[in-house]
């Protein structure tokens, strides 16, 4: 006997207002709401060929697939976000049945409602600072008194002494570099945190991940009142001018679904 494969339910986000889904078909997702006592879960049916526990694990090795699906996940949430405050879920949150999704809403409904109320009128923005280390070092050579002094000594020293002085200079440059990067990233984070409602520092991504020549030196997220977003633009413009010659690059992106600011009880981050 053949049984049709039962479709699974993929959860994108939760809202309190009925999600408008007119543009979702363009993304290639037939998303629809599951309603329970004042909250909506935005879900779509997915095939067990892709999203059953075993198949999903296999699919995760296929980067083309992951890229497509994770961008879909993001686009669906961004679309819903245009008209409603959302709680975004982690990629790959899948349920066996709609009843199980309702079960989630029943169990966590009050908590979801309170998180959504908290997030109303707010946006998540991200800041990644990248540093061109060589450019930064060059700027130090021209500015730092101690480095200039060693350079003078190198110029008048014999070969052997000059060699050791150069080594000393390299160590000094690296130390100053680390101090300054720390100081500048801290300064940037603190100034942006000022007008924010909440702020978080996340793990740095390696150059292997970012595929950038510049090294990531700060990865941060900010929860911002929509009304105050212009203030951030002027702070960013200020940093850009202030630190450009040091080789610092500011990637300020948003608005994002509030991935960093919607942890439920029992969830650490």
């Amino acid at each position: 006997m053949q049984t049709a494969k039962k479709e699974l339910i993929y959860l994108y986000c939760i809202t309190k207002t009925k999600p408008c889904r007119s543009n979702l078909e363009e993304i290639g997702v037939r998303a629809y709401p599951v309603y329970f006592q004042g909250i909506y879960a935005v879900v779509s049916k997915v095939s067990p060929d892709e999203f059953s526990e075993d198949n999903l694990k296999k699919k995760l090795a296929d980067m083309t697939w992951v890229e497509k699906k994770i961008l879909q996940h993001e686009k669906v949430i961004e679309e819903i976000m245009k008209d409603a405050t959302v709680i975004p879920f982690k990629f790959g949150t899948v349920f066996q049945t709609e009843e199980n999704v309702e079960g989630l809403l029943r169990e966590h409904g009050l908590e979801f409602k309170s998180i959504i109320s908290e997030l109303e009128g707010k946006e998540e923005w991200g800041l990644k600072i990248y540093c061109d280390l060589e450019k930064f070092k060059d700027s130090l050579q021209n500015e730092d008194g101690k480095i200039k002094e060693i350079e003078k000594n190198i110029a008048v020293s014999n070969k052997g002494k000059a060699y050791f002085l150069k080594k000393k200079k390299d160590i000094l440059i690296n130390n100053i570099l680390n101090e300054r990067i720390s100081e500048y990233t801290r300064d940037s984070f603190d100034r942006l945190k000022g007008p924010s409602l909440d702020a978080k520092i996340n793990k740095l991504l390696s150059q292997e991940v970012t595929q950038k020549k510049e090294k990531m030196v700060l990865n941060a997220a900010f929860l911002v009142s929509k009304k105050r977003i212009k203030e951030f633009d002027s702070i960013l413009t200020y940093f850009k001018t202030k630190y450009a010659h040091k080789g610092l690059e500011f990637a300020w992106t948003g608005p994002w679904p509030p991935y960093n600011f919607c942890a439920i009880r029992g969830q650490e981050k």
Binding site: L56, K90, I201, L205, T253, P257
Partner: protein, 71 residues
Amino acid sequence: MSDVITKSKDVTLLEVLDRALDKGVVVSGDIVISVADVDLIYIGLKVLLSSVETMERLRGAPLSGAVEEPT
């Protein structure tokens, strides 16, 4: 929109992975990608999320202040 905002396609994929894989609400759904599976994705991407430890070693531990969760 200010000129400091960059959202090219590559940036977006990186930014989305950084959020939707690592953050977002986690519930005990029937099937949820586990932390181990997320690591698999990163390996597939030749992506290695640097642990705080690695990060500090690479940098000579300068940012110890900055990696703490802000209070």
